[in-house]
Symmetry: C2
Subunit: 205 residues, 2 copies
Amino acid sequence: MEKSEATTIEVAETSRERKGKAPLLAAVVAAEHHAKAAAHKRGVAIFDLILRISAAAAALGATVAMGTAEQTLPFFTQFFQFQASYDDLPTFSFFVIAMAIVTAYLVLSVPFSIVCIVRPVAAAPRLLLILLDTLAVTLATSAGGASAAIVYLAHNGNSDANWLAICQQFTDFCQRVSGAVVGSFIAVALLIFLVVLSAIALKKH
Amino acid sequence: MEKSEATTIEVAETSRERKGKAPLLAAVVAAEHHAKAAAHKRGVAIFDLILRISAAAAALGATVAMGTAEQTLPFFTQFFQFQASYDDLPTFSFFVIAMAIVTAYLVLSVPFSIVCIVRPVAAAPRLLLILLDTLAVTLATSAGGASAAIVYLAHNGNSDANWLAICQQFTDFCQRVSGAVVGSFIAVALLIFLVVLSAIALKKH
């Protein structure tokens, strides 16, 4: 290795006279450039893996927090006991399903992220990850946005539509649900970062 | 050009004997490869521009449809006239603001898309577009998802939370609002396609 570098420098200095060695020079320079780009891309891929696991944890937390959100009030009438559960509102059911899909995708995409670490210059797994990450961003954002709209309504109500706030009664339920929405937004932020990171790694060096 | 190609073939056939011509060969091959990749990327960039203008039109349509949604019912009491407007619901106000931002971004990004057509191998404008397109996807999806949740509630109500459906009275208003939500989802689909397309164009050839 030492020797070939010395040759490179020598060839560079006297390149006009010794054109016969030029292909060797080109090959050495290309290999060095390639190795540098690969090291850079490997670093990005390791960061990608860490972010991916964090996003999976956030998405899992959001799914579990929403899926276990229920509250039974301590008072009841003769005919009726007041209780709230996430599946009373279709939007929250959608949230649980969508975030479960996102969590499953993020866990299943870890092997592809590892492939990107092992073979940093391969473009195909990265393109696949960008495509699926973008779809995951959309799914997680729609779940988070829709639930945020309903949580806002549950907290504040709406006098024009005559919808009353229910959070005065169901305090714990509302806190749990709000936490789940925050978790989904953390997952969304990490996923956006993942897409941008993959795009940077795809860039030609 | 014809002549240099002939030289290329000759050199390729007798490359072992005539190493001195190899740099010329390499340069010619590299230039041809570069031109091919540039033509491919230019095609992608033109498609990008068309999709971008379509997405801007969809986003503009959604903004205007929501922003002009209001209905006054033909009956009224002595004290009260029944009317619905988009700004009665904070989620719909958010929708108008978010979709207006997305529309403005899409219109302002057209020059960058044109730069990608003129200089197809430049990576910097494409990376910028991927980053901002991903943020626009998130904004449009959150607006569309949140409004879809409220529209669903307006259509169906929710007996558990004691929220009544308002679409039996405000038919036109609900139709207009639903149309706006559909428009935002069309814009989201086009934006996802734009992100994937930019990623493909960034790929090394």
